[in-house]
């Protein structure tokens, strides 16, 4: 049974359509990631659920009941913002306690809950500080704490990690995952980063230009992208698209992930000749840029081709690992 349900949500600002006909169901305790390029409307969708925007059309049900007429504060949800939005005039303790005080929670309860949350997030020693005196990572933890402390059934994350550096981001990603397992809340998480999307989400909804392109588990999205957009958006380095003629499927577009292409110095059966361009060392393997019959391709290989720029080598494209799309519509065949 779905816990949160978006029904035919549409939103436009003036003539500009931000969201068109969004239908989406999320079950209780699920971790759903909304991912897509910037401007695709993912944040707007989140904010509509939070009550910070009103949809032009459509309805949102939580637990079977429409919440559109409710004030944000009455929707039983909390949100973590990209820029943290900590109250600069309050110290960390008061930042966490703010929502509880407004809800007339008793002082002892507040003490207990703030303490508990602070322990989970390991920010006990920061409680007396003002946000100004915190580092980026610490602020992020406090923002997380402020959302957690209210123990709402829904948690919303709006690109919470995009202001952090790479190391911190990895660590926080891990913590968010851990928190989800701890609290069992329903989480809706907006990001433009596909790594966050695939690592965090139980399910991923890929948005583009106000549409949902595909909703599925990370694995399914990776293996069976619904269309060329999803295929190229998810997966790093990006999937290669080759004309179907190359592999004897005219009229189709062939998608092949870089790690599935193998290389050799000598021609093999079914192998195609390619010109080497440049190569990047990634540690586990090499990312090779090359030209295949006038088309740029990327491929991953445990060793670099033994040739100089412009030199020849051979690539094999295994058909069983290729995905075929309609050349015109871009849909999966």
């Amino acid at each position: 049974m779905s816990f949160v349900e978006f029904k035919n949500i549409q939103k436009s600002f003036g003539d500009q359509k931000i969201l068109q006909k969004i239908d989406l169901e999320i079950s209780k305790g699920e971790f759903l990631v909304l991912v897509g390029p910037s401007g695709c409307g993912k944040s707007t969708l989140l904010r509509i659920l939070a009550g910070l925007e009103t949809p032009t059309e459509g309805d949102i049900l939580v637990n079977g009941k429409s919440v559109l007429s409710k004030e944000p504060k009455d929707r039983d949800l909390a949100m973590v913002f990209q820029n943290y939005a900590l109250y600069p005039h309050l110290n960390v303790f008061e930042n966490l306690a703010f929502g509880l005080r407004l809800r007339q929670v008793s002082e002892s309860e507040i003490q207990a809950r703030v303490k508990e949350t602070a322990e989970i997030l390991q920010i006990q020693n920061l409680l007396e500080r003002k946000p100004k005196a915190l580092s980026g990572g610490q602020r992020q933890r406090v923002a997380l704490g402020r959302a957690l402390v209210r123990k709402t059934s829904i948690l919303l994350f709006d690109e919470p990690l995009s202001n952090l550096d790479a190391n911190l981001r990895n660590q926080m990603r891990y913590e968010i995952k851990r928190l989800h397992q701890l609290t069992k809340s329903t989480i809706i998480y907006v990001t433009h980063d596909q790594v966050e999307a695939t690592t965090l989400g139980d399910r991923i909804a890929v948005l583009n230009k106000g549409h949902i392109e595909q909703v599925d588990s990370a694995h399914n999205i990776y293996e069976k992208p619904a269309n060329t957009f999803v295929a190229s958006f998810i997966g790093l380095p990006e999937m290669n698209f080759l004309p179907g003629d190359l592999v004897g499927r005219p009229g189709a577009s062939v998608g092949i992930r870089p790690e599935n292409i193998s290389i050799s110095a000598e021609p093999r059966s079914g192998a195609l000749e390619a010109q080497f361009d440049v190569c990047e060392y990634l540690g586990a393997n090499y990312l090779i840029y090359a030209q295949l019959q006038g088309q740029a391709i990327r491929l991953l290989s445990p060793h670099p081709p033994k040739t100089a720029t412009g030199g020849k080598f051979f690539v094999s494209i295994p058909l069983e690992k290729s995905i075929f799309f309609d050349k015109v519509s871009g849909h999966l065949l």
């Binding site: 109250y87 703010f98 402020r146």
Partner: protein, 274 residues
């Protein structure tokens, strides 16, 4: 080279500081002299005839304390009302899709361009219709309203710089619109509020022309009109005047100085980021 530059700039600043305080020095030194000492060829601060008797008689033989009390009253009330109103309008204009917002803001700015002295006669007529002549109310209304446009612009500019997410977070945390304003926006806007209050206070504390028309009962006089009574067309009590001027200026100067840090950030915040 670097040292020379530093000395040069210190020198320049000292020179200009002297320029800035010199008139104050003159008033201060006059306040210790007799009535006619404004006309004197000495530049000395303390002369043989100097004394603090002007200050003494200011408090004992004039209504100075009454004026002071009235001015404090009026200024405090104007500050509260004016800033209160400006907060409401500034916040709405900064945050909500108010109808006719752009036009409204333009009109607000253009009100600054009308020579205020010409409004005296209409003011008087409005106030006498409202039976507010000779009462602090009339003064309060006019002062707060005339300083409103500037205050609204000022506060709107500052509110614009506060991230929207802060309010959204507060609303999710459980604030009503009013609580957002009261518990989050206002505490965060303290520098701008301080500056706006200061300007309101200053206007009310120093305004003369309107007060002279509205207040007719000497018991209601504010400092600026009171001071003016020392100064008659053919015989000014310069000593008393100077002493009173010093006492009137001290609070504003202190306020100004203590808020000068905010002044730097508060005045420009809006325009830098707005």
């Amino acid at each position: 080279m670097r040292q020379l530059k530093k000395i040069l700039s210190l020198l320049t600043l000292t020179l200009f500081s002297l320029f800035a305080v010199f008139p104050i020095y003159v008033v201060l030194s006059t306040s210790f002299r007799g009535d006619n000492a404004f006309q004197s060829t000495s530049l000395e601060f303390w002369t043989k005839t100097s004394s603090i008797s002007n200050y003494f008689s200011l408090f004992t033989s004039t209504d100075f304390l009454t004026w002071m009390r009235n001015s404090l009253w009026v200024s405090a009330a104007v500050t509260l009302i004016g800033v209160g109103f400006a907060i409401g309008a500034g916040y709405s204009l900064s945050r909500f899709p108010i109808r006719g917002k752009k036009t409204g803001l333009l009109i607000l700015m253009t009100t600054q361009m009308f020579p205020c002295t010409m409004l005296l006669l209409p003011f008087y007529i409005v106030l006498s219709h409202l039976q507010l002549i000779n009462s602090f109310w009339g003064l309060l209304i006019i002062y707060s309203a005339t300083s409103l446009p500037f205050c609204i612009w000022q506060l709107k500019g500052f509110f614009d710089t506060i991230p929207k997410e802060l309010e959204e977070a507060a609303r999710l945390d459980g604030c009503s619109h009013f609580q957002v304003l009261y518990k989050v926006i206002l505490p965060v806007s303290l520098p701008a509020l301080a500056i706006t209050s200061l300007f309101n206070f200053m206007t009310a504390w120093t305004e003369y022309a309107i007060a002279a028309v509205v207040l007719q009962d000497p018991q209601l006089y504010t400092l600026s009109i009171g001071l003016k009574t020392f100064q008659s067309s053919l015989a000014t009590q310069w000593g008393l005047y100077a002493a009173a001027a010093i006492i009137v200026s001290v609070p504003v100067v202190i306020l100004f100085m203590s808020l000068s840090k905010f002044l730097v950030s508060g005045l420009t915040m809006g325009s830098v980021k707005g």
